[in-house]
Amino acid sequence: MTSTADRLVEFDEVLTRYEPVIGLETHVELGTASKMFCGCATTFGAEPNTHTCPVCLGMPGSLPVANAAAIEATIKIGLALGCRIANWSRFARKNYFYPDIPKGFQTSQYDEPLCVAGHLDVEVDGTTHRVEIERVHLEEDTGKNLHVGGATGRIHGADHSLIDFNRAGIPLVEIVTRPVPGAGRLAPEVARAYVTELREIVQALGVSDVRMEQGSLRCDVNISLNPVGDLEWGTRTETKNVNSLRSVERAVRFEMRRQAAVLDSGGRIVQETRHFHEDTGTTSSGRSKEEATDYRYFPEPDLVPLAPDADWIEKLRAELPELPAARRTRLQQEWGISGTEMTWLANAGALGLVEQTVAAGASPGDARKWWLGDLARRANEAGTELGELAVTPAQVAELVRLVNEGTINDGLARQVLDGVLAGQGDPAQVVEAQGLAVMGESDELVAAVEAAIAGAPDVIAKVKAGKVQALGALVGAVMKTTRGKADAPTVKRMLEERVLGS
């Protein structure tokens, strides 16, 4: 059970003996106004159990009515992934007992999903990896459990549990890949790139806000290892709760290292569900599939089969927005950057941010510089995604403008950014409030320059003797006394005027 006890093989070493096969099951909560089978609102963060009704509470006698907008959104996702859209599809009941599923079954799809057989190409390190999509189907979300009084937040050891049914019945699209062999050492990055690309697609379609931290995009990661050259794949584990792009990559990496250690010692991999732990980047054993429930799927008799009209599907296909891959090609040309740079931007989740920053007035170069430089570093330090930083593309564009206008310099800009991230307002407001603007030839600056000259007669002597570069030390002193607010070239010119009299 304890993940710390797992023995691990070094990642590079894993690849000398084993080949990974990955697979991803991604759940996307749709952003429809109402739930999948009732009229309740779907807004995130409401008081517990306020968005409920007899239908989503599974009250006796209540019946589901399928949400047409959710079906349309699912078909759009299927089309964007190049899937074939079924002309006959049914919902099915997945039967199991758990208090967060009010009806004692989850209404899902089984052998007749809406969309099948698509693919998604992702680029990692300049190579293209094709991820085959097995199916895209529509189901309903479960309620949310809160286990109170235990150490782990899990049901075991808890004193009591509370259930919030606001989430129960929110439409959920599940996108299931076929197993992806052949990624080798890039498997963790391919997994991450796949989820990143999928998120971009769903975002472009406008059918979900795909916010991993709010759970509107959730990933289960399947991993198996087989000895190099073996045709048969190994037993896979399914890691749940992988709730950030970074975690997808870490989960694959960890499982590869853990499984290799088990196999090295002659053990066998148990087909099981594992939990991912964000804090340690490790996985731990959940319930074993070998003792798993028989879901007793059967067609949902309370709903009629879906038979999407071919003309309607063609209309939806024609109306699809520009998809991320096409957009990248276009932006790459517009911005004049290399394919590698573009992949880099996309995999960092920065493409949309840069595009919006450019739209807000920044040059593509400046926008890239900030998002991939300072901001990427900060996101990395905070262990979060770029898009989740508390700064908007418009604010970054404003920062760029302030630098270009000479109101602030790069050093001050970083301080301004600190203020913005701390919630002190837009860049201009932070500049104003903290007095961070570059000083003109103000009295304060003149005084600082004269004080520096007066305080360093030896330096002045050297300069006058011809060692002009010794002035650099005085520039540094002025910058220090003005706490970086002065413009260095201006300071240098002022010093030269006074010392050399030019």
């Binding site: 007899p54 509470l57 599974g58 009250m59 006796p60 006698g61 209540s62 019946l63 589901p64 009515v65 399928a66 009941r93 039967n95 007992f97 208090p99 009010p102 009806k103 004692g104 079954f105 049901i155 549990s161 259930i163 028989d294 879901y295 007793r296 799927y297 059967f298 008799p301 309370d302 709903l303 009629v304």
Partner: protein
């Protein structure tokens, strides 16, 4: 006033509607008459699980007040009604005959209940039933035994046995029943009532506690064909809350009943189903039932109907198919009763975990027949068995539907006995589920094919009522009403009174 009160309970709905509309009687008088009758007789019959009493009188008073202010009221305003206890009613106890829902007061109402309320009818109470509608005698109720007003040692049929006993016993002028495999038609037949199972999808299932979702339908149980048709018109029609509800206008059912009562069936082709009590298929059928059935068919012929015999070989497979499909769906429909959100919670003493509390709740909350069917259905749906059981049963369903299709190419309606026997004595089949299931032999085919079917009285055998079943193609419910009304009118005329009039007023009630 006692005499008037008891008289009002013997008036059919058409009569009550006239009396109320003309102002000859008030809604309060009609309601009080029925409440008095319930107070006097229900101890003996056990038809009701819950009586609305004051709430019913208040609703009736509201109707009277509205009428007094000159408001435009519908023809049914002030007519009392009883609902089978699986019709969800806001604020009114609804148990589906099960301990697991004891004390549950629903936060919403079924479409059927809402439509009846909007028509101005007054809810008298909720009627007893086999637990979750699983049974043919109402002996599977977790609460009480219900007795047949014709012979209180006998069953009133089931699962809508509380509804049949209430209407036959004059404790309600009409009631709502539900039919999954025969649960409206069989109790109607054994108590001398008219009961109609509508085309699947023509009456909303929203708010009916589900037994088997692909089979359940609510329908009228009444003393006359016309009353049944009128109730069907009130509750029927498209409901956007039920995805399986059919979006077509209802046929004119009351008109069809009136047309049938005029007695002319010329041009109507009637098929007698050989496999349901015909030659070579009489095992398990009481001779008296077969005689009444034959006579009823002769009456139809005498009214001009062309009668032929029709063979539907797949009907022999209906019983096993039904007992796979219905329990399979039930095993899933009944999964929500686990003590977390409503109803009974047992064993939650702080020492037990969730799975144990769920198990104890279900162990204590469900009766033996319900458990039997949950286990059967769970097994039939299990991985590895699905194709052999549930899948195969669905294929049988297709075959039965095809048999109906072939038959309806040549005839307009099909007829058979409603159930093979008259009401059997209480306690005689409780230990023999297979014998109990045989009560549904004739009603199952129309259920599996989703077709409309009515049971109409065809006379008595050994002093107990026998019913004739009339089946029609999907959405041709009006044919059931027309043919049933013709038989009813002809037999009432020949007899000089209604069959139910032979059921005397019980001693001490008047």
């Amino acid at each position: 006033m006692t005499g008037t009160s008891s008289d009002l309970t013997r008036v059919d709905v058409a009569g009550l509607s006239r009396l109320l509309s003309s102002g000859e009687v008030s809604a309060v008088e009609v309601t009080r008459a029925h409440l008095d009758r319930i107070a006097a007789d229900d101890g003996r019959l056990g038809a009701y699980l819950h009586v609305e009493d004051d709430a019913a009188l208040a609703a009736a008073a509201a109707v009277d007040q509205a009428r007094a202010t000159g408001a435009e009221l519908g023809p049914l305003a002030g007519v009392p009604v009883a609902l089978k206890d699986l019709v969800v009613t806001e604020g009114v106890p609804t148990t589906s005959g099960s301990k697991i829902l004891e004390g549950w007061r629903p936060p919403y109402s079924a479409t059927v209940a809402t439509r009846l309320a909007e028509a101005g009818t007054v809810l008298l109470g909720k009627t007893n039933m086999d637990e979750f509608a699983m049974g043919s005698s109402t002996e599977n109720s977790a609460y009480q035994v219900t007795r047949n007003p014709w012979d209180t040692d006998r069953i009133p049929g089931g699962s809508s046995g509380g509804s049949s006993a209430a209407v036959a016993g004059h404790l309600a002028p009409w009631s709502i029943g539900t039919d999954t495999g025969g649960s409206i038609r069989q109790p109607a037949a054994v108590t001398g009532l008219v009961g109609h199972k509508p085309t699947y999808g023509s009456v909303s299932r929203y708010g009916l506690i589900a037994f088997s979702s692909s089979l359940d339908q609510a329908g009228p149980m009444a003393r006359t064909v016309l009353d049944a048709a009128v109730m069907h018109e009130v509750i029927g029609g498209h409901d956007p809350r039920d995805s399986t509800s059919i979006d077509t206008p209802l046929a004119r059912l009351a008109d069809a009943a009136r047309e049938g009562a005029a007695g002319d069936l010329r041009g109507v082709r009637v098929g007698v189903v050989r496999e349901l009590g015909g030659e070579g298929h009489t095992d398990g059928y009481e001779p008296g039932v077969l005689v009444r059935t034959r006579e009823a068919i002769e009456v139809l012929a005498s009214l001009g109907a062309e009668v032929t015999e029709v063979s539907c070989p797949s009907f022999d497979l209906a019983l096993p198919a039904y007992y796979l499909i219905a329990p399979s769906e039930a095993s899933s429909n009944l999964a929500r009763y686990e003590g977390v959100r409503f109803g009974l919670r047992a064993g939650d003493d702080g020492s037990r975990d969730l799975d144990e509390v769920m198990a104890i709740t279900r162990e204590q909350g469900f009766g033996p027949e319900v458990k039997r069917r949950i286990i059967l259905g769970t097994y039939a749906l299990s991985s590895g068995y699905y194709d052999a059981y549930y899948g195969q049963a669905q294929k049988v369903r297709t075959l039965i539907t095809r048999d109906f299709g072939a038959a309806f190419a040549d005839v307009d309606v099909l007829v058979s006995p409603t159930t093979p026997t008259v009401a059997f004595p209480i306690g005689t089949r409780v230990d023999d589920p297979i014998a109990m299931y045989a009560a549904d032999l004739c009603t199952l085919p129309a259920s599996l094919a989703g077709l409309p079917a009515i049971s109409v009285p065809s006379g008595l055998s050994d002093g107990l009522p026998v019913g004739l079943q009339v089946m029609a193609p999907a959405l041709a419910d009006e044919r059931c009403y027309r043919v049933a009304a013709a038989l009813e009118a002809a037999q009432d005329a020949a007899r000089g009174h209604r069959l139910l009039d032979e059921l005397g007023t019980p001693a001490g009630a008047a």
